[in-house]
Symmetry: C3
């Protein structure tokens, strides 16, 4: 019964969230100002569209993608929005302080909010791994930690390894996946069978998750090309992302049917594996100059993502003891590894084709790749340890994946 | 049972709607023409985007926002679309006749359809207060009345008080909220407990309402900046609306958790209170030049909206006898009051800062504010009295909030 | 029980889909390249928006429009996406080979992907007629056949009848509707009463279908104007499509209420009939220069579509023995006939007004209209015969409209 739920967040959550928000307002008061440079309206309109597409991806796409759990769909959608807005504010400040604080003011532009939204999406990706096993307070604590780690990593990459903005941001898939999985590892407890029952989907929630998938599918090209400036690179990014997504849709559906003894397709795999192509092609989408390569990437991404969805849960749960609620590992983790390796190979080939003797670029990038993995594992582990503390009143394992622990339900309201 | 439902709309509703539509076609035939001035394609594309964003807000956002009622979600979505299209046609004609009828023809531009869509949204906002307590015929009668009142008020404001288009349109939140509440007051009857049972939400309808909320949340900056021409003002409007929405999301969630004895969040409050920031910042969004002010506005708006959601229903229902189905008062009514007052204060401060001696502007605006309240109350009261007439065959109180009164349901269809 | 389901697609479906996909990749490898001409970024942004709108219409709109079946909503959404991506790839290649293969390479531009998406939508429209009565393998076989037929018809029309791209594409509604119905005729078997029970809607699926309808309603003007180049024609297309949709919404709702003995509205009719205006105005949307004509078209389209929805199912099912799952005939078939005839009449009038003696254009267009009907019936019949073969293991009639035949359901998974 809800009324016996012992660990009330009544005081802690609002206190933490409101104090954080008040701090944000204070910092914004002292250190930020709007961009007042007069650009012509055309540029404004274009930037606004790009910004809005990213917001659609983050709020509508990522929000509904995680809503497939039978008893946890309210939380997944509403918590996503909550974490997104916290993350955007923090990422914006952090980016301003770390990057151009020369004037003593963080200048807010549409581009900087867009960048902040993309950084905050790392939290939403990681959320998929721990969804249902942490309360909103723990998640709200995780937001500044993860955004800080991700922004720091990007700053280090840019300053010391000279990685451009686009490639830097495309590490988000890998970083967020391994961060989330490490936190999930730290938080993991054995699930009872009653809890496993709740960790399933149902008809209507699955359709909401499909809605999220379709939003992501449709607007993913906008996300992958958002930080590219050269028109030709943007065009390539749009084409390649589209083709990779198209092919991974076909592969994911086919493999899912093939893996089942009676040829039945698993809806949960569809939600995630159709997106694998967009993840895999992320880093190299501006470099690939013919569709077949993007299609092959999408094919392989769909393949390993579906295969991962089939085999990994068992291995993860029983061997490693990690419970990955929404399949972050096979949606983002594996395809992003594939994408990173492809990018390094492409750079190497490009160098050998152009007979360029400076091999620095791909060495630096593979350095950055290693850095992303190490950074995510270390920061994820530290965050996980912190979230494991008793003071956050994490939910008991019997209350996992249960909206009733967090939401006032109408049919329970009578008793209060 | 549906089959005992006595007051059939079979004849009245189609007759009223088709006659209204035929009249519209006739007026369009005699008095309208398309804009044939050749503008370059760039402008067309930009205007089309702005127009489409407003349509998304109206059709997808407002349509699904009201869909949280357990037994009334078909009606809320489909009726919204029906009222929207009636309202747009009427608002377009009215605007043409009241504003530029010098040539004897109403010239239809993309901008005028956009303006008409925004005017018609007043009906969708008011709808929230009376949803489930009036039949489609009553609502279809309300459309021309409310749109006329709103357009007349805007014309008076512009002609006599010299208020600009943007500020004028931003009265929509206040006007529509008080109009709807006054109509709800006139229509109010005591609800039986069986009816109250239906005035609740359930899992899936709540997610649909959340979808509407997210559409509104994502596209609200487009709505608030739609009538601004200066690029810098547009940019400010986008920034401020975004920040106000972000902060009110945090506040609304926190306050909702804090108000419940066990820290549980109320989903219905989330649907509405996260939007309070966008309402509060509406009037002044082009004037505010630093984020903190928009954030403070969003904070306060989220606070009073959540507090209102917690306390007002009891007070409204028992003291005033008004039943406000979707919480229009705390979603739009209170935040828009806050926004209006803020705008007057900002204008006053601006004048005292710039040592400008002409204090006319803020006096005129506060006059316009008063006008909006008076206009909405008077026109709402008259409309409410009219809608209370027996000829409209309003639903009996036992049929409140019930889709079965209006829709052919498959599982009931067998008996017919 | 799912476990007794005898005709497993386990081997056939993945084999067909993966072989098809591999063939696509090979053809793309040998015969395609990206457009590398440097256009300025402005054009890219505009084309990208138009392309994205069409993708939203296809993936989100058409995907959810068909999701109203009570037990078949997973399939309708997920199959739509699968067929869409197969169709887009095939249409792109075909268009390249049939149209400009002069350089020996198919050059991929954003415009050509957009065109391919529009061609692939023909499959999604036809899908409505046979949904639930064919398995995914049959549908995946149908994709290349229908896209080939549609592309060939368009090539013939353009080469020999000199029809422009826009009018040519607007035959899609008619072609797809009659193609789908002919295939449904070939596949038709008598439905048992248990099956008919599943061919119904329920509350939540209906709202998802309404979501699809609203997406289509909002983005339809983008679809109808996508292939027009002249800014004034684009503007007209947007205006006329908007007005036709608005009026058909009013008519459809009214007629549906009027047709029921107790004035109750049929949700399924709303889903489809509100869109009739957009279909009817398609061919002539760039020619109509005043709103009333578009409104009259919308009015008549709403009328015949609602009337068709009321009367046709009985006649179709019992007389012709065709079962039209999602009402393709009254959503697309009838209104597109109306639109075609209107276009011919308009051309004739235009010629008689301008005293032009060359009557060729409307003769050619009516020829094209006839061609569309003949092409769709013949190709549909051949496709239907092919799909009727035993080798595809089509579902047994007791498994019609049943997600369980194709999807792994969580609550059944225990037994495996």
């Amino acid at each position: 019964m809800g009324s016996k739920y012992p660990r009330s967040l009544r005081v802690c959550l609002p206190r933490w969230a409101l104090v954080l928000e008040a701090t944000f307002i204070l910092i914004f008061f002292f250190y930020t100002s709007y961009d007042t440079s007069r650009k012509d309206q055309k540029t404004l309109v274009e930037t606004y569209r790009a910004f809005q597409d990213v917001t659609v991806v983050a709020a509508l796409g990522m929000g509904f993608l995680a809503s497939s759990l039978r008893r946890y769909n309210w939380s997944s959608v509403a918590f996503s929005l909550f974490l997104l807005v916290l993350g955007v504010q923090w990422a914006l400040l952090l980016h301003g302080f770390l990057e151009d604080f020369s004037t003593g003011k963080v200048v807010i532009t549409l581009l900087s909010i867009q960048l902040a939204t993309m950084s905050a999406m790392s939290v939403l990706i990681s959320l998929g791994a721990i969804l249902g096993k942490a309360n909103l307070l723990q998640l709200a604590v995780m937001v500044p930690l993860e955004v800080t780690a991700f922004s720091t990593m990007r700053m280090v990459n840019r300053r010391f390894l000279n990685i451009d903005d686009h490639s830097n941001m495309m590490h988000i898939y890998m970083f967020a996946a391994y961060f989330g999985l490490t936190v999930a590892y730290c938080l993991s407890r054995g699930l009872s069978s009653g809890t496993q029952e709740k960790d399933r989907t149902a008809t209507s929630p699955s359709l909401f998750a499909m809605l999220g998938t379709l939003f992501l599918w449709t607007f993913w090209p906008s996300f992958n090309c958002a930080l590219l400036n050269d028109p030709n690179e943007r065009k390539n990014a749009v084409f390649n992302t589209y083709y990779a997504l198209a092919v991974s849709t076909v592969t994911a559906t086919s493999v899912s049917a093939w893996a089942h003894p009676q040829g039945k397709i698993n809806m949960t795999h569809i939600h995630n594996a159709v997106l694998a192509g967009g993840v895999a092609v992320g880093s190299s989408c501006h470099l690939i100059t013919s569709p077949w390569l993007a299609m092959v990437l999408g094919f392989v991404a769909g393949l390993i993502s579906s295969a991962g969805a089939e085999c990994l849960p068992v291995c993860f749960n029983q061997v490693l003891g990690v419970h990955d609620t929404c399949g972050v590992y096979y949606t983002f983790g594996l395809p992003s590894l594939l994408g990173g390796i492809t990018y390094v190979v492409l750079l190497t080939l490009q160098i050998s084709w152009t007979k360029n003797t400076t091999t620095g670029h791909q060495v630096l990038y593979s350095e950055a790749l290693r850095m992303a993995v190490v950074f995510s594992l270390v920061s994820g582990f530290l965050t996980g340890l912190l979230l494991n503390l008793k003071i956050w009143k994490g939910p008991h394992v019997t209350k996992y994946f249960d909206d009733q622990a967090f939401w006032k339900f109408p049919h329970l309201a009578v008793g209060f």
